[in-house]
Each structure stands twice: as C-alpha cells, then as structure tokens.
C-alpha cells in the first residue's frame, strides 16, 4: 500500500486557509532544496577545485566546525547563511517560481500518459508543459568578479589621472 508524502493541495486551489501541516511541508521543502543546492555545489567544487571546509571557513570568517554544521543539515539556516555559503563559493542564487497546482497536474498527466512504443509516436510527442505554466527551478550563477563596465580596484586605481606635477 502506497502513501503519498505530499499534502492535499485542494485548499490552495480553492483559496481556503492552508492547513498547518501543508505550510510546514512546504517550509521544509524550501529549506531542503536550498540545502541541496549549496551542498551539491560544495561537493562539486570539492572534487573539481579542491575546495575544503577550512578554506570556506577562512573566506567567511567562521570556524570550520560551523561550516560542517551548516553543510550537515539545514536546521538552523537563515537567508544570510545561504548568501554567505554561496558567496564563499563565488556564487549567488537565481530565482524562479511555479504554480504548485499546475505543476502537480502536469506531472500527473505525464505519469498517466503511456510510453511511446514506436519511432513515429516519439516524433509526435507534444510538450506536456502548457505555455502559461512558468516553470523555473532554483539555480545559481557565478558572481561576476566585477560589475559590467567596472574594473577591479587595481584597474580603478590605474585609471586615476596622474597627479599634477608640482612646480619646482
């Protein structure tokens, strides 16, 4: 016997008060997704660039144990924690939203649809996501080293006009 973990979304669809359990479910969902976002990036940079918790701690002015606690579980995270950890890895988040009712309906329809059996059926597959559903996941983009048009501090110093020579 299977039990779906997602709460009923009927209250959201009807504009009724949302039950406490549903609110808590989505609060935890956001927290877990942000944690996964940061943790996956840390693991990636650990493998690719040799990033360590100690190095990240040094960048953020924290102790390595604090970084271990943050990466271990998202329990005591704040928005500032997310910002700090991502910035410590040279990143900042990008954002998007989706309608939960429509997203679930689209997923249900996709699951109910029979798998294509022939090559012609594969060619005839239409996108399951209707145009009006705006689906963007969480992501992040590398934080640019400098703003467009601006230079590094060294560049800016170089651009300073030379001081006028004093008359002897």
């Amino acid at each position: 016997m299977a039990t779906s973990l997602a709460p009923s979304l009927s209250e959201i669809a009807e504009g009724a008060p949302i039950p406490a359990a549903t609110l808590a479910y989505f609060q935890e969902r956001l927290r877990n997704r942000l944690h996964q976002l940061v943790l996956r990036e840390f693991v990636r940079q650990e493998g690719a660039n040799g990033l360590t918790k100690a190095a990240l701690a040094l960048r953020l002015g924290k102790r390595p144990e604090q970084i271990t606690r943050w990466l271990g579980a998202p329990g005591n995270w704040t928005l500032d924690t997310v910002s700090d950890l991502l910035l410590g890895m040279g990143l900042e988040p990008t954002f998007g939203m989706k309608n939960v009712i429509e997203a679930r309906a689209v997923s249900s329809a996709a699951e109910a649809a029979p798998l294509p059996q022939t090559f012609t059926q594969v060619q005839n597959i239409q996108p399951m996501v209707p145009d009006e559903v705006h689906v963007i996941g969480y992501g992040f983009r590398p934080r640019p080293a400098t703003r467009p048009g601006a230079g590094t501090v060294t560049d800016l110093l170089r651009r300073q006009p030379p001081a006028p020579a004093r008359a002897a």
Binding site: M1, A2, T3, S4, L5, A6, P7, P19, A20, A21, T22, L23, A24, Y25, F26, Q27, E28, R29, N32, Q36, L39, R40, V43, T68, R69, W70, L71, G72, A73, P74, G75, N76, A103, R104, S107, S108, A110, E111
Partner: protein, 176 residues
C-alpha cells in the same frame, strides 16, 4: 522469494506502507516503507497544530531521502553531537539507523533498518528528549524495538549489511 517480495506481502497485509513522492513522475531512486504508527502520523489527523507542523516537516525530510537528495552522514559513528541527516547507530546496535529530523523542536528520530541498499524500513520514532544521552538505555530500547520488529516482519531475512559505509547503504551519501 526475495526480500522485496516479502516487503510487498507486508504492504498487502498493511503492516508496512510504501511512501511515494507527492509530485508523480519524479524519479524515486530510494525507497522508504514505514510502520502503521508512523504512517498515521505522516498522514494525520493530528492532535494539535504543533504536531501537525512537526510531522508536515518530517514528510518532506523523508521525501528528500526518497528523491535521491544528498544525505549527510557522520565520519565517526559515535559523533552524536553534530549536524547530519542519517546515521548508523553502531556499535551499540546491529544495523539500526536513525533518520534525524532536528528542527524545529521537538526534535524527532526515526529508527529503522535497511532491507537493501537505498531501501529503508522505518519501524519506530522517538522524540529526541526521551532518548537521553547517546548510549543511554532509551537508545538501546529503540534499537531492540527495531530488531524485534524486523524479526516479526522478516523472520527469515537479515537486514542489509555492508562494509562500505556509507555508500553501501545509501547511494549519494556525503560524509560530513
């Protein structure tokens, strides 16, 4: 007959319940089955708003496990005071794991055993405050309850065991 067949029989008898993701169609690289008591608390009705919110959060923590999120586990098994998501509570217990749902208070621990790699069976839950310090009597009680429940449901099978900790139990686990 494999242990998966046994699990399916236990589900038909309603002695276990398979948890599935709320958004159908998403991959489920891991699986969790829960005892009826845990299933009742996951689905409700609940005694009060506090209990509803606590178990609403646990629902998503378990969903995170099922959908293949990275699961953090401790490097040293006796490091109880740290932040991670799951732990084999060896050496005090034979193949008994805890899934930690720490925040917000009251913190809850879900105890169970792996039937196979990425196939977790949750038998019991305990509020953290009742467990006391790690290694106290309540921890042993929770462990004994799990082993007893296992024997009752799967008398002819041993729980999954692996020398490759933690990847032999949970694929995509991260040692913290």
């Amino acid at each position: 007959m494999s242990i998966r067949d046994e699990i399916n029989y236990r589900c038909q008898e309603k002695r276990l319940h398979r948890l599935t993701l709320g958004i159908p169609g998403a991959p489920e690289p891991r699986a969790i089955w829960v005892a009826p008591e845990i299933e009742r608390l996951l689905v409700g009705p609940w005694r009060n708003k506090k209990q509803a919110m606590r178990w609403g959060r646990i629902r998503n923590d378990l969903e995170s496990f099922i959908q293949g999120d990275l699961i953090t586990v401790p490097q040293e098994l006796n490091r109880a005071k740290s932040h991670y998501m799951a732990r084999l509570i060896r050496p005090s217990s034979p193949e008994v794991w805890e899934i930690r749902c720490r925040d917000p208070k009251p913190s809850v621990r879900i105890f169970g055993r792996f039937a196979d790699r990425d196939a977790f069976i949750a038998f019991r839950w305990w509020p953290r405050r009742l467990l006391g310090g790690f290694g106290d009597r309540a921890w042993r009680t929770a462990s004994v309850q799990c082993t007893t429940d296992w024997r009752n449901l799967f008398p002819s099978y041993d729980p999954h065991s692996s020398e490759d900790y933690p990847n032999g139990y949970i694929s995509g686990s991260v040692v913290i």
